[in-house]
């Protein structure tokens, strides 16, 4: 068998074929959306101006990218140096997460060339959307700079890499401040819609709920990502990364367990403050309890058991449960419990094109992650910079 035959054969893997098909579909949907307008591909209307692209691509994209600021602050600000090897994968995931949030947002907004408009053409700086836009733009820049040493090591640009490496602590602090601001502001966006969002999900504490749950999501995403990449990228992982692997899970599971317990209590206090106990007995109340007990309290307890029993398998499955719970929460706030009082024929259900674009964006993220992680020093230290940490 010649080398050419081998390389041709290796290209036709199930992963590549499925990815290729999704990318072709996504390209066609992109032409459709930008050529014929948002109305041609979505089920959005004046009652439901924000749909799946905001509820999943943006809200879930941002919250699941919280692993970047959570891991870098744990290592560089709180001194948990033993988890150092997890920083680069977490930063890469966060950077790509935010990058594709911005790309996905273009499908919702249209006219991509007007992306900088909020910073120059706007009616005031007190707008919550302006705050979110500014924070995301700044944080994406911070993440790009935090990620760039890996790319510069790969490109062999030593001086520039060393210069940016010196900014690590400053960038981490900046990242934590910006994340605190916009993770909570995304929740604050829904405070202006008390008549539209179901009272069980509506609360003046929404910014706090969004921020606290983002910490749990970030910790869980780092564990889930470690689990998902463990097999396919095993040959790219350094001994240091693999040696720290189990400890990272036990440490992060403890953190996530405690944060989720705190999140559970503030959610219950939110019900008490608004006196919504009677709503818990309704159908919506059962759905709310399903989310709160099944995807907040249960993972908190499972993480605790997993870390006490040193049960890696349980912790991994719990990280998946937590991530699904956070996604469910964001979709409840933005889509499912939003406009809950409207008759069913006026309720929003995403079109297949909207789902197709979301799958397309997620696939592009996975492909880009794979491209970078197989080439640049993400799961291992570059030999020239091994002793620098």
């Amino acid at each position: 068998m010649t080398t050419e035959t081998v390389s041709k054969k290796s290209l036709l893997t199930p992963f590549n074929v499925i990815t290729g098909l999704i990318l072709v579909m996504g390209a066609a949907l992109t032409v459709w959306r930008f050529g014929w307008g948002i109305g041609a591909v979505t089920n959005l209307d004046n009652n439901n101006p924000w749909g799946l692209w905001i509820g999943f691509d943006l809200l879930c994209g941002v919250v699941l990218a919280a692993g970047g600021f959570v891991t870098s602050s744990a290592v560089y600000l709180f001194g948990m140096k033993k988890h150092h090897a997890a920083v680069r994968p977490a930063i890469l995931t966060a950077f790509l997460g935010y990058l594709f949030v911005v790309i996905a947002l273009q499908y919702d907004l249209g006219r991509p060339w007007r992306l900088p408009y909020p910073f120059v053409v706007q009616s005031g700086t007190t707008s919550m959307l302006f705050e979110v836009g500014l924070c995301v733009a700044l944080y994406l820049t911070v993440l790009f700079l935090e990620f760039s040493p890996a790319a510069l090591e790969w490109l062999g640009l030593k001086r520039l890499r060393n210069l940016i490496h010196k900014l690590t602590i400053a960038l981490t602090i900046f990242g934590v401040v910006l994340s605190t601001l916009h993770q909570s502001s995304l929740g604050a966006l829904y405070i202006i819609a008390p008549a539209k969002l179901h009272p069980l999900w509506y609360s003046t504490y929404l910014p706090t709920f969004f921020f606290i749950s983002a910490i749990a999501a970030g910790l869980s995403m780092v564990m889930l990502e470690g689990w998902l990449t463990h097999k396919p990228l095993h040959d790219k992982m350094s001994e240091e990364y693999l040696a720290q692997h189990d400890d990272l899970y036990f440490g992060f599971a403890k953190g996530a367990s405690f944060v989720l317990m705190g999140y559970f209590f503030i959610k219950v206090i939110g019900i008490a403050v608004d006196n919504e106990w009677n709503l818990l007995g309704t159908g919506w109340g059962q759905w709310f309890l399903f989310e709160l007990l099944g995807f907040v309290l249960l993972p908190s307890v499972l993480y605790a058991i997993g870390t006490r029993e040193k049960n890696l398998k349980l912790i991994r499955w719990t990280s998946l449960l937590t991530v699904l719970g956070i996604i469910l929460n964001r979709l409840n706030v933005s889509v499912i419990a939003f406009n809950w009082h409207l008759p069913s024929e006026m309720r929003y259900v995403p079109s297949w094109q909207e789902i197709g674009v979301t799958v397309f964006v997620c696939t592009m993220l996975v492909v880009t992650f794979k491209f970078i992680a197989t080439r640049m020093p993400i799961f291992y230290d570059h030999p020239e910079y091994k002793d620098e940490h």
Binding site: K254, S257, F258, M261, G262, F265, V268, I269, A272, V273, D274, N275, W277, N278, A304, T307, R308
Partner: protein, 43 residues
């Protein structure tokens, strides 16, 4: 938990009362939960 409220003060007394009870309970639970999480680390 149906409850009749006749004044704003009545409502706030009730809701804040519950909120403070829950906050107090959460502080006790957090200490116990912390001990539960970290107790095996000493072994």
């Amino acid at each position: 938990m149906e409850h009749a409220f006749y004044t704003l003060q009545d409502f706030l007394l009730y809701t804040k009362g519950w909120a403070y009870i829950l906050m107090g309970a959460s502080l006790v639970v957090f200490v116990a939960y912390w001990k539960f999480l970290f107790s095996r680390d000493k072994d």
